[in-house]
Subunit: 303 residues, 2 copies
């Protein structure tokens, strides 16, 4: 779905050619680029293909469409229209993913829910990958951190972690979509990082260590969230909740215990109270406490 094509597509070839001409100065700012009809003729393609090429350059900000007469090379500024429709697409996509899981989010399904023809979506969005990125960004925009923040780095990190966790609880699919290593696609994440950096500002850590702590805390939260998502998805797919599942597996555990294998595993299982169920929120809190206890040691040491 996001594989780099080995040979560029026709419209990409056209766009690349034009981009090169702009970059090289052959087409200066304000100059008119060939019309879609002209491009279609010289490249021997349909007019819409040429239009698509121009359109993609417009979206990049390389060109500007002048409804008056022709398309010209841009100097500044990109068009901000269609933002409304983009927002609607993303909002419905999030609703779908929340309801039925990420695997149930298809372009066709999305179009159906929006009551628009399938291909109309591509007028507002480049690809499904872009939809996912926009969804993640929109979800992260919901991060509402207290302002002013509580006092002390620990209280602040605790707050930030809980807020992030709540977002993952609300949007389980997010765990599969967010990646720390490519943050730029999600401008709203930067505000979060900034908040965390402020929390650590009073400590004596250097920039590298601050960044590390942020990434580590995030990794823990995402690790919890991934399993949360897996569970949610499994229930949606099979209709079997963890409870039923555990019951169905009890026999297997008993067999293992009876076989004398995995003695410590069996001992732990015996130790669990009857009808024990893991409460994931409580688990999160425990983990957060442990993580921050560990951070406290790190900060004390490094300070």
């Amino acid at each position: 779905m996001s594989r780099a094509p080995l040979s560029p597509l026709p419209y990409q070839r056209i766009a690349d050619s034009l981009r090169r001409q702009v970059d090289s100065g052959a087409l200066p700012a304000g100059a008119r680029v060939p019309s879609t009809r002209a491009l279609a003729r010289t490249w021997k393609v349909a007019t819409a293909t040429a239009a698509h090429a121009l359109q993609s350059l417009v979206r990049e900000g390389v060109l500007v469409a002048r409804p008056r007469s022709g398309t010209v090379v841009a100097g500044r500024r990109a068009n901000a229209t269609a933002a409304l429709s983009r927002a609607r697409v993303v909002a419905i996509a999030i609703a779908m993913a929340d309801d039925e899981g990420l695997s149930a989010l298809s372009i066709r399904g999305l179009a159906a829910r929006l009551c628009v023809p399938v291909m109309s979506l591509y007028r507002h969005v480049r690809s499904k990958d872009e939809i996912l990125a926009l969804m993640a960004d929109a979800a992260l925009a919901e991060l509402s951190l207290d302002e002013p923040p509580p006092r002390g780095w620990r209280a602040q990190l605790e707050h930030a972690a809980r807020v992030e966790w709540q977002i993952f609880r609300k949007h389980p699919w997010l765990a599969r979509v967010v990646h720390i290593s490519r943050p730029s696609a999600m401008p709203n994440a930067m505000g979060y990082v900034n908040w965390v950096m402020r929390a650590l500002d009073a400590t004596s850590l250097d920039g590298v260590d601050k960044l590390r702590l942020h990434v580590l805390l995030h990794a823990f939260i995402q690790g919890m969230a991934v399993n949360l998502e897996a569970e949610t998805q499994a229930i949606a797919d099979t209709g079997i909740g963890e409870e039923d599942y555990m019951r169905s597996q009890a026999a297997r555990y008993d067999a293992v215990a009876a076989a004398g294998q995995f003695l410590f595993f069996a001992k732990m299982m015996r130790d669990l109270p009857e009808e024990f169920r893991i409460d994931i929120d409580e688990l999160f809190e425990r983990g957060l406490t442990a993580m921050l206890d560990g951070f406290a040691v790190t900060i004390r040491r490094g300070g």
Copy 2:
């Protein structure tokens, strides 16, 4: 891909009917079930569909195929043949996922790499989901924990975590496939849990807390691994490594800094040494230290 069908498939209907007859005792152990031809006639389906039904029951261990004369109801024991071919399928699947990422692992591609017709795979494996489960189990079987273990819970947990991390490094796709909440599909995971439980045996924690610590440590490791996988996959898809990517984003960061937004974020970025690259293994070690420092507090408190 793993959606529960609303109405059972023909071969499933047949299988269910037979299973009910076995369960109810209408067909006692050792009794012969109708032949595929007979089933095909009475159910008005092709012989192969009937065969498929029988075959699936054989795989479940409900029936036993007697090459002599007909299929009979099983008393004990399942057939262990074809284990070799299953292993081969899984081994190649793992190799493919290691090389090109999970998204490049398709049934058709797998069949091609094995030089067998596509549908032959389904002779050894029920579905792609099963392949993924088997892959995960096989990967986890590589977990080779020291025996005898090091002394002290901390050294042991450190060792276990590092071994798990190495598996994730070797098989990045694993991070997307493993779930703690459904462990039974992966018998090899139980040995790992057992090892961890032994590590915690000397502590005064109760069963619930032991289980919690295990899950928390795992969540942290998996959280790291998920991001590792995302990075690996992104490089495979786009050919753009993190380094190139960061360079291309530098302008964006500078712009944000210049705009006076996200002051603490910008400050942290300024603080980073020139050409700073996150070393994920070092990051993991830092996180592990922090996590175990936190566990130490928990254990001291609870003890």
